[in-house]
Each structure stands twice: as structure tokens, then as C-alpha cells.
């Protein structure tokens, strides 16, 4: 009795053509366009708006910082949502940027994270309601936050108590990508030490950052994810201004002692962050939001509804 050999795949006698499904899908998706919702969280003055504009290479949002003396300081966290459609080689990206001005800016920042967490959950909630409607839209508009960029102040010491509290709360409901803002105030040595501390602290508090390991990952995916996890938090510098360096026009910052080239990997990790967000993990960020965060929310809600229903009977 011979063990059955590995189930043999049938061999196609002639070309069928179903391999074109990938381009069929692509065509459909190109027509529909993509939706990406990104939130920025951090104290004012950390370069959040500038970084978004640098990542997407266009002036998308304005800084909400306080610039006029008669402008009062914000007393609460506000949620500002802004949508813009950008196109690259025929691919339409509907980009929704959610800014959170006022976070961490008050003398008393108790519970400043609540409006933010509530907003994130509200988007899940709204999506769920649309899903459960008897007559629902063919394509439910997705306002769920796919990525939350968390801005860490470049103190060079460690995370602040408020950072720990907020990271814990955010990582429960959204993909969080931490960045060290304005990292041009840290020397390379300081940066390395700072990152190391932050990683230690996040590990100690069991803060689960994106990307998450998945069973679907092959070796290549695993390696990529590991290298990303190594880099996190990304030490970034943003700039919308361009400077000429060696005859080339680059985005950077010009000081009396030198020029910081945002796109130079030796200067900062902007390129890595940009590629991570747009070139390697864009689709995954959208997918894990739906598959993990939304699913968690959904099952909790439905279980609660079920229990409520049972109690009432």
C-alpha cells in the first residue's frame, strides 16, 4: 500500500486565461479608487501637518497651531477631518486626514484622549450600522481610521506618562505607528539611545504596535515586518520647502550649519516611513483595520446586542 502522493494539481492542457483576473480586479479598483484614512495625534508644534504634506508630496492640510496672540488656547481636543483626492498614474486615492488639535496642549490634559478614541469607535459604529441596514449601500463609504500616526516629542529621555496612557488606549482600537517628531534636534547617538528606551518602555507596557504578525505571512513578509519593527519609532523630519543640494532639488531644511535633506536616509528615516505607509503596507493597513480592529469592535457590539436582547426576553 503506497501512501498517496501529494495531491497533484491538474495540469492545464491549454491556456484558459483566468490569470487575467488580477488585471480585471485592477481595472475595477482603478475605476472605484481607494480610500485611506489617516489620523495624526500629538502635541501642537511637533510638525504633524508638515509631515503629512511631506509624505504625500502636496500641501494637503494647514497647521492648526496657535499663531496669533488673540487666538485663545484650545481648551479641548477637537477633531478636524479633511478629505482630498490625489491621483498618481491613474490611481485615485481619496485621502482623509483627521487632525486632533488641542491634544496634550493644556495645563491639565486629563482624559484628552477620550474624544480621539470616541471618534475612532464612532467610525466603526457607523460602518456597522450601515452594514446591518436591511437595504444597504453597495459600497459602504469607509471612514474607519486605517492608521494613526502618534507623534513623540524629541525629548531624548523617555516616553511621557501621558504617552503611555494614550498609546495603550489607541493601540486597542486602531493601527498605531509612532514617530519621533522633529528628530533633527537629536544627534545620531541621542536618537539611538532614545529609540532604545522607547522600545523598552513599549515592550514593558505590552503596547501592540502595527504591523502585527499574521499566519498569512510568508518569509519575505516576516522579514519586512521585522525590519519595520526594528525601525519603529521612525525618527522623522518633514519639510514642504525645497533646497538645492548638489544640483538636485530636494525637500529639506537649511540651517547656518548645514542642510538637512529629508530624503537622505543618513539624516532621518522619512523615506522609510513614507515607503512603509504608501509603498509596502498601504493595502495591509486598510485590510487589518477591517479584519482586526473592526471585527473586534463588531463582535463586542453584536454580543452586547444579543445579551441585551436576551435580557429583555
Amino acid at each position: 500500500m503506497s501512501l498517496q502522493a501529494e495531491s497533484s494539481q491538474p495540469v492545464l492542457q491549454s491556456y484558459v486565461g483566468f490569470d487575467s483576473i488580477t488585471s480585471q480586479i485592477e481595472k475595477k479598483l482603478l475605476k472605484r479608487g481607494f480610500q485611506f484614512n489617516v489620523m495624526v495625534v500629538g502635541q501642537s508644534g511637533l510638525g504633524k501637518s508638515t509631515l503629512i504634506n511631506t509624505i504625500f508630496a502636496s500641501h494637503l492640510i494647514d497647521s492648526k497651531g496657535r499663531t496669533q496672540p488673540d487666538e485663545p488656547t484650545r481648551q479641548t481636543v477637537e477633531i478636524h477631518s479633511f478629505t482630498e483626492e490625489i491621483i498618481e498614474r491613474g490611481v485615485k486615492l481619496r485621502l482623509n486626514i483627521v487632525d486632533t488639535p488641542g491634544y496634550g496642549d493644556q495645563v491639565n490634559n486629563e482624559n484628552c484622549w477620550e474624544p480621539i478614541v470616541k471618534y475612532i469607535k464612532d467610525q466603526h459604529s457607523s460602518f456597522l450600522r450601515k452594514e446591518l441596514t436591511a437595504k444597504r449601500d453597495r459600497f459602504i463609504q469607509d471612514t474607519r481610521i486605517h492608521c494613526c500616526l502618534f507623534f513623540i516629542s524629541p525629548t531624548g529621555h523617555s516616553l511621557k506618562p501621558i504617552d503611555i496612557v494614550v498609546l495603550k488606549k489607541l493601540t486597542e482600537v486602531v493601527n498605531v505607528v509612532p514617530v519621533i517628531a522633529k528628530s533633527d534636534s537629536l544627534t545620531i547617538e541621542e536618537r539611538i539611545a532614545f529609540k532604545h528606551r522607547i522600545k523598552e518602555e513599549m515592550a514593558f507596557h505590552n503596547i501592540k504596535l502595527y504591523p502585527y504578525a499574521s499566519d498569512e505571512d510568508d518569509e519575505q513578509d516576516q522579514k519586512l515586518n521585522e525590519s519595520i519593527q526594528d525601525l519603529i519609532p521612525f525618527a522623522v523630519v518633514g519639510s514642504e520647502k525645497t533646497i538645492i543640494v548638489d544640483g538636485k532639488t530636494v525637500r529639506g531644511r537649511q540651517n547656518r550649519w548645514g542642510v538637512i535633506n529629508v530624503e537622505n536616509e543618513n539624516h532621518c528615516e522619512f523615506i522609510h516611513l513614507r515607503n512603509f505607509l504608501t509603498r509596502t503596507h498601504l493595502q495591509d493597513l486598510i485590510e487589518t483595520t477591517a479584519m482586526i480592529h473592526y471585527e473586534t469592535f463588531r463582535s463586542k457590539q453584536l454580543l452586547a446586542l444579543k445579551e441585551n436582547g436576551q435580557q429583555q426576553q
Binding site: 501642537s44 508644534g45 511637533l46 510638525g47 497647521s63 497651531g65 496657535r66 499663531t67 496669533q68 496672540p69 488673540d70 487666538e71 488656547t73 496642549d105 493644556q106 495645563v107 491639565n108 490634559n109 486629563e110 516629542s153 524629541p154 525629548t155 531624548g156 529621555h157 523617555s158 516616553l159 511621557k160 506618562p161 501621558i162 503611555i164 496612557v165 522633529k182 533633527d184 534636534s185 544627534t187 545620531i188 528606551r197 523598552e200 518602555e201 515592550a203 514593558f204 507596557h205 531644511r253 537649511q254 540651517n255 547656518r256 550649519w257 548645514g258 542642510v259 538637512i260 535633506n261 537622505n264 543618513n266 539624516h267
Partner: protein, 295 residues
């Protein structure tokens, strides 16, 4: 306002000066103190275990005394550090702590003054100036900045400074300084702005003071280590894109501020503290107690 007097006769005895430094952690406060004294006055913050990161540390008031020699003139400098300021989630408590400390020093003088037999060697611990570190946000003042300066300015000379100023380009710095000063004016916050009288003071004084005033808030960079640049050993920060020199006036305002604090304006700051700030406190305190007695 008091005139600035160069007290040369005290050169041998030396001067005493107390400076308080306030600012959120991570703005270069400790490094500044060590850079100012060119010594390890405040020990480098030993990074605690990761378990401590979420623990909220309340503000502490820590005085350190150093003996400096400024061009042959001895200065006994006391620096009061305030670690923990602005680090908690709720920072309401910070202001009261600092204010309490400043007023306690005034109270000590007040009670010493009223003694029948006064102690000749009584140590005057009044704080003559407060350097307040503003974060280099590029926008304007934060709520905590406005609150602190408003609450403390009646009791002390406040000199606002920008910490870690090497994160800003020259044009950003110009804009930021302008906005901060406009903000300070708008909120009617009386800071120490190198006062001068164009009619009474000589040209040199007017020029010197208006230059210092134009630098407010002072852009600071701190560095305790020396590195070798072009064959010289200087205090500087080495970045991949260049070297920032602490003592270079083109790079930051550290040198100018240091000279103002420890040489040119040391007397003025002390006089304003004694003749004006302390006097006001004294009047308020005494009229309060006499008001209570008359009831």
C-alpha cells in the same frame, strides 16, 4: 526702574546670584545648567527602568551652588532646578510649588529684617531671575507657558528662552521669536526685558540693552561635551549635516545670555528683585496682616 551699576568694588568679595530654571523635561534645561557652569552641576538624568516611564513625577525644587570665576570676578551662583515641571498629565500643581518656593525666600528675608538682633551672615536665598524654557514649536505660546509666566512674573524677573533652538532654521527662529513676544505683550506679561531709558542712559547702555531685548526670547542650545572641529576642541553638537557650536553667536544666543546674566546685568536683576519685586511682596504681605489685625 533701577539703573544698572557696575559694582567693581565688590570684585574681591565676589557676587552672589541665584537663578531658577523652569521648563518641561526634554527642553535642554539640565544641559543648559551644566553648559552655563561648564561643569557637571546637575547629574545626568539616569534613565530609570522602563517600568518608571508611566509614573508621574511631581515637580521638585533643587538648588545647586557653584563657585564661578568670571574674568577675575568671583560669583557664587546658585541654580535652582525644577525637574518635573509640566511632566504630569495634570500640571496645575506645578505653579503653586514654584510660587511657594519664591515667596518662602521673601518670607525669610522679611522675618530676618524684622529681628531685633539680625544675623550678619544671614544667607539671602531670593531668586534673582527665572529662565523659562519654551518648546521650539514654531507656533506661539502654549497654555502652560502663558499660565506660568503670568503667575510668576509678579514675584520674579522672568527671561523667556527657547530650548533646543537648533531644531529651527534662522527664518523660523525670527518668526517664532516675534510671535512669542507678541503673545507675551498681548497677555500683558511683564518679563525682564533689559530696561533702558533712551533719555537718561548713555548711548552704549541703550545700544547694549536694545540689542539684548531684540534677542528675546533667547535661542539656546546646550552641550556639555567637547568635540574636535577643524583642529580645535569646542563645545558643539555633531549632526550628520553639520556641527552646531554652542559658543558661536551665529548659531545661538547662549554666549550673549550668559554674559548678560553673569556680568552685565547681574546687578540690575538683583536690584529689581530687591527694590521692586520684594518690596511689592512685602507691602502686600504686611498690608494683609495689618488688614487682618484691624478687623
Amino acid at each position: 526702574m533701577a539703573h544698572r551699576i557696575r559694582g567693581r568694588k565688590n570684585a574681591k568679595k565676589g557676587f552672589q546670584f541665584t537663578l531658577m530654571v523652569v521648563g518641561a523635561s526634554g527642553l535642554g534645561r539640565t544641559t543648559f545648567i551644566n553648559t552655563l557652569c561648564d561643569a557637571d552641576v546637575v547629574p545626568k538624568r539616569e534613565c530609570d527602568e522602563p517600568e518608571m516611564a508611566h509614573v508621574e513625577e511631581s515637580i521638585k525644587i533643587k538648588p545647586y551652588t557653584v563657585e564661578l570665576d568670571e574674568d577675575g570676578i568671583k560669583i557664587s551662583l546658585t541654580i535652582v532646578d525644577t525637574p518635573g515641571f509640566g511632566d504630569m498629565i495634570d500640571n496645575e500643581y506645578c505653579f503653586q510649588e514654584i510660587l511657594g518656593y519664591l515667596e518662602r525666600q521673601y518670607d525669610d528675608i522679611l522675618s530676618e529684617e524684622s529681628r531685633i538682633k539680625r544675623d550678619r551672615r544671614f544667607r539671602d536665598n531670593r531668586v534673582h531671575a527665572l529662565l523659562y524654557f519654551i518648546a521650539p514649536t514654531g507656533h506661539s505660546l502654549r497654555e502652560i507657558d502663558i499660565e506660568l509666566m503670568k503667575r510668576l512674573s509678579p514675584r520674579i524677573n522672568i527671561i523667556p528662552v527657547i530650548g533646543k533652538a537648533d531644531t529651527m532654521t534662522p527664518s523660523e527662529l525670527v518668526d517664532f521669536k516675534k510671535r512669542v513676544m507678541e503673545d507675551i505683550e498681548h497677555h500683558n506679561i511683564p518679563i525682564y526685558n533689559f530696561p533702558y531709558d533712551p533719555e537718561e542712559d548713555d548711548e552704549e547702555t541703550v545700544e547694549e540693552n536694545s540689542e539684548l531685548r531684540s534677542l528675546l526670547p533667547f535661542a539656546l542650545i546646550g552641550c556639555e561635551e567637547e568635540i574636535e572641529v577643524n583642529g580645535r576642541r569646542i563645545r558643539a553638537r555633531q549632526y550628520p549635516w553639520g556641527v552646531v557650536e554652542v559658543d558661536n553667536s551665529e548659531h545661538c544666543d547662549f554666549a550673549k545670555l550668559r554674559f548678560a546674566l553673569l556680568s552685565s546685568h547681574l546687578q540690575d536683576l538683583k536690584e529689581i528683585t530687591h527694590d521692586y519685586l520684594y518690596e511689592n511682596y512685602r507691602t502686600e504681605k504686611l498690608s494683609l496682616s495689618s488688614g487682618e489685625e484691624s478687623e
